[in-house]
Symmetry: C2
Subunit: 152 residues, 2 copies
DNA sequence: GCAGGATAGATGCATTTGCATCTACTTGAA
DNA sequence: TTCAAGTAGATGCAAATGCATCTATCCTGC
């Protein structure tokens, strides 16, 4: 229960980051992403997991590692491909609500099925069930804390 | 000790990935990276942590989330800035050994000091010492397993 | 020794990215 | 109300990225 040292924090982050690189590099090679890049998929996935089915651009931006302008254009491309729609936000004339089309939802599900299988394949044998749960719990708390205490 | 389900693996990965996005997004904003991008810094850091002080381009590439051609040009830029040197590999005429210059080592240390402090600041209060250690252990094992069992 | 395949890295080129900036809209205080 | 400051996204433009391909070198079996 000690307060962590600077070194402990840096080493844990470094380890987390390298693991992410190793896994992501392999996941990106999945042929499932030939039809749609992994960042584009990530946007569709985030939208699919959203209760209302619509998200503001700036909310979307919190989930993706892209500059605001890059996300703006990525969503524009998805729109042109017919995978999402962009409507003006009802309560804020500046805002844009992004929403999955049926085609977008269909493609997300299709890619998602293959992607989830690939994740399981890559992680298979690395950690047991309890360890995966611990990892999930720790990273979720890390994220929550960071989001809550360090606004952008 | 159960074997994980596909769902458990996918959810743990998702959580790890989102935490990485949240932390990385905030770390990138550090003014320490005004002099040198975070990817460029990452290459200098990887070189600085290397015993011999030199690394082959393809070894470097394992640590960074960049295509081979992108890393090739990133290192070319670092070379032009006088931060690294590129020599032909002694045992393999095709290979390039990348090595920090004194300037490169100096800049890495300078940015690194600020960066480590910023990591500690961002993570502060999120996890205690034991939890950070657990996170490090789990992610290190994940990475090792993935690297060992899924060559690129 | 040599031909065929594999591997390391460089390069042309189209696409994507981020920075700076711009416009439009909202908010809050006088 | 009005106006200054703040926020949401879009856009021009230069830089970075990835794909496909190219060259050079290495390795393997004959």
């Amino acid at each position: 229960m000690r307060t962590p040292t600077v070194r402990e924090a840096a080493e844990a982050w470094e380890s987390l980051f390298r693991a992410q690189v190793a896994v992501m590099r392999r996941l990106s090679r999945d042929p499932a992403f030939r039809r749609l890049g992994i960042k584009e998929y990530d946007v569709l996935f985030t939208l699919s997991a959203c209760p209302g089915g619509g998200l503001r651009l700036n909310e979307l931006n919190d989930h993706v590692l892209l500059a605001q302008s890059s996300l703006s254009r990525l969503v524009e491309r998805l729109d042109k491909q017919g995978l999402v729609t962009r409507e003006s936000a009802p309560e804020d004339g500046r805002g844009i609500v992004v929403r999955l089309t049926d085609a977008g939802r269909g493609l997300q599900r299709e890619i998602g099925r293959a992607h989830v299988r690939e994740i399981a394949r890559i992680l298979d044998g690395a950690l047991d069930s309890e360890e995966l749960a611990a990892l999930q719990r720790l990273t979720a708390r890390l994220r929550e804390h960071v989001v809550a205490n360090h606004p952008l």
